[in-house]
Amino acid sequence: MSRKLVRRLLQRTLPRHCLITDPVALKPYETDGLTAIRQPPWLVALPETESQVAAVLRICREHAVPVVPRGAGTGLSGGARPVEGGVVVGLSRLNKILEVDLDNCVACLQPGVRNLAISEAVAEHGLYYAPDPSSQIACSIGGNVAENSGGVHCLKYGLTVHNVVGLKVLMMTGEVLHLGGRGQELDGYDLLALMCGSEGMLGVVTEVWVKLLPVPPVKKVLLAAFAQVSAAAAAVSEIITAGLIPAGLEMMDRLAIQAAEAYVHAGYPLDAQAILLCELDGVAQEVEADAALVERLLRDLGAIDVQIADDPQAQARLWLGRKAAFPAVGRLAPDYYCMDGTIPRYRLAEVLQQIESLSVEYKLRVANVFHAGDGNLHPLILYDADIPGELEKAEAMGGRILELCVAAGGTITGEHGVGVEKLDQMCVQFNSDELEQFERLKAAFDPAGIANPGKAIPTLTRCAEIGGMHVHNGKLPFRNLERF
């Protein structure tokens, strides 16, 4: 590959303001929401149209240059972190809502549309887009698809994969993949589901069809304070076991409560060890009955205080604290490392206890924020990157937490993806046959291996080195394939 040639081709294809080549200007693109892992890109392309995206991909394909798609760069696993010598293709300028189809309650979006902008645009019709990652104000729908993002409401309404009905994907081979769309049935393999969570490794998403749901007529948010984390964890199980499916069921521990309260003044009880936020929605009678039941359950299980927010402002404030909890933790320590594992719900209390022991062992504070309803843990490890060795300590501790999750029967990622952050833990979760299968799947879409290479699937050598993988007969399969 002649770099000069590729650069010239890109310069000729894109308007001046759509290609960044100055090393100083490239630096802010070296990272996403996970700043601990950085790599300056070779170039950044910011196309304004789909055909420009296609042109960039074509040039990259013809010259075997790696491509890293990037949405809003809020990812927490380094998915949009550039690769050496690669081109970052930023999709922020493809931010138009192409169509809102009120008859079918679907909308067609360009990939750079912000998650929250969808709900804002259709609010006047009494509709909204359900998956609401805490980063919804900023993250893009393309990034949501790539990470299969969830949010506080995914317990009842599902993850991105359950709310996307169609995609247009530009493949690295130059083909264009149309999957589903307005009311279209998918036949054959469910490639749509495959694309959700593919972390930009199978192609670039350029159109997304999403389902729009009617805004529920009535909502109530309950806030319960607990003197013990274990009591709060038990209440989570109890609510689900009682057959209720709250729209959201979230838990925060003391440290997280304090940080969030300092930002939004939501009225979180600062003396509680844990709080549960439970949202119920639906028609009035149902919500009334459910709320009464949940309140009784919470009190029976030892809640020291239960508040109920009926009006939208109070509800929004309670949720705001939860949604801003991650960055609000930025007020407690210079840096935090956000983990994202899942566990079976019934083991919540036990795993939390073990995290607490790790916190003592590593002498690092941990603030815990969870999508408790579906067992998705977000421990936030607080550290100070300016103290030599702290980052490594935080990473090591994070790794241990994820191993805990796997041991408890869970997984290493709930919704933030693997990216480059959790490659090592992939070796713990999957065996070599499974990893090889992933690799074959990627190769089917991207034979040249230029779509976001090095993400999500660890090389087998890497797994062997960390000793997390069983090496068969002393032989490493695909030993030479460092390119994965």
């Binding site: 200007a25 630096k27 809020t74 980063s135």
Partner: protein, 405 residues
């Protein structure tokens, strides 16, 4: 976020402050979502998170690169990012430090330097600015469109000549009204209306004979030493009158925000620090002041639909805005819904001259948001936004004070 600022930077007060602010940013990117320039340009470098990164890189390398200057110059200082940021990152203070650093370590091209010099030497001086304005009006057809649009309209230039101060014989309360340099030339009708309102309610209005600029202009252009001198100067003029009034007010939120910042900016000033704090204790935005008085307003015969424009200096800078809404509602106005209320109109002080293209794009967007509810009139709280919006709006633009009777 991790920083590795060199010793030479961290050794200074500003360097330390910059480090503190940089470290409080967790790089979540929430702020990009409400940043007007990011919305418009879609480039990380034109959003707050990217600017913060560029500033970090600049201070780490101790070298100012022209791309960095380009992207920092495009920042409106609207502070929408601060309102959005859950980590409490005080971006505008970081930007102030960065602009000051750029100003002392980077040579701009000649045209840019001349423009900035002209702004600093002319705009804050009402006589000079008025002379330019009159000259400009005479030659308006020879001026570039941008400059032409900045000129005050005819009636206001003349109206300026006569504005007698009002002082009722028995005053229930007294207030010092700051007139602001640009406002005296471009929209003197605003304070004239306020004087009348207050006089009618028995409130004495004190004004300064020779009121200087508040320093906002120089501060935003990264000329901190000059700005501080201007501030001290204003404080000196103010000092003798401070005790006789209950409050000090400004009807321009752009001046108000800088004035409210005096205690911080002059914190370590041996001669003027205390005075700055004394001013700070009495300083109110006109909305806060009027609302606190619990006055009643004459109801309108015909209910006008008003689109209330919230200047950034008010909503993001001073965290105010509801006061005007309430006052207008008390006076019987109908307030229409305004889309994207958080977003800047593109006026942003000298921005409309220095970044003309972006500025007018933002203005067009803002006007379509303001006019989407079909108002009869647009009401704002800041002189810069007032003249900027008036050029392109299809309904009249006023300061909301002008709507009260």
């Amino acid at each position: 976020m991790q920083t590795k600022l060199p010793e030479a930077i961290v050794a200074t007060t500003k360097g330390r402050r910059a480090e503190q602010i940089l470290r409080s940013c967790v790089h979540c990117g929430f702020c990009n979502a409400t940043c007007p320039t990011y919305e418009l340009l879609g480039d990380e470098l034109d959003g707050p998170r990217g600017r913060i990164y560029l500033i970090k890189e600049m201070l780490e390398a101790q070298k100012v690169e022209s791309v960095t200057v380009t992207h920092l110059d495009r920042c409106l200082t609207c502070r929408a990012c601060e309102t959005t940021c859950p980590s409490g990152v005080e971006y505008s203070q970081l930007l102030e430090i960065a602009r000051d650093y750029v100003s002392s370590n980077y040579r701009r091209d000649l045209l840019d330097r001349l423009k900035r010099l002209w702004l600093i030497r002319t705009v804050p001086y009402k006589r000079r600015f008025r002379r330019w304005a009159q000259l400009g009006r005479a030659m308006r057809w020879f001026l570039p469109k941008r400059l032409r649009e900045m000129l005050p309209v005819a009636s206001t230039v003349e109206a300026l000549q006569a504005t007698p101060p009002v002082s009722p014989s028995v005053a229930a309360s007294s207030v010092l009204l700051l007139n602001g340099c640009v406002q005296q030339v471009t929209t003197p009708q605003v304070n004239a209306a306020l004087r009348e309102l207050l006089a009618a309610r028995g409130i004495a209005v004190v004004e300064l004979a020779e009121e200087g600029c508040c320093g906002a202009l120089e501060l935003h252009l990264g000329k901190e030493p000059g700005a501080l001198a201007t501030m001290r100067n204003l404080l000196d003029t103010l000092a003798p009158r401070l005790d006789e009034v209950d409050a000090v007010i400004s009807t321009a939120s752009g001046c108000g925000i800088t004035l409210k910042d005096y205690p911080r900016l002059l914190k370590d000033d041996a001669t003027h620090g205390k005075l700055a704090r004394r001013l700070g204790d009495k300083l109110l935005d006109v909305g806060e002041y009027l609302l606190s008085l619990d006055l009643s307003w004459r109801k309108q015969d015909e209910v006008l639909a008003v689109a209330l424009h919230q200047p950034c200096t008010l909503q993001h800078g001073q965290k105010l805005g509801d006061e005007a809404r309430q006052l207008l509602q008390n006076a019987g106005y109908d307030l229409v819904a305004v889309r994207d209320e958080h977003s800047c109109c593109g006026s942003a002080g000298t921005y409309s001259l220095l970044q003309a293209k972006l500025s007018s794009q933002l203005r067009d967007r803002k006007i379509s948001c303001l006019e989407s509810g079909q108002p009869d009139v647009i009401a704002t709280s800041n002189v810069g936004c007032h003249t900027h919006l008036a050029v392109a709006a299809s309904v009249p633009v006023v300061h909301w004070i002008e709507l009260l009777r």
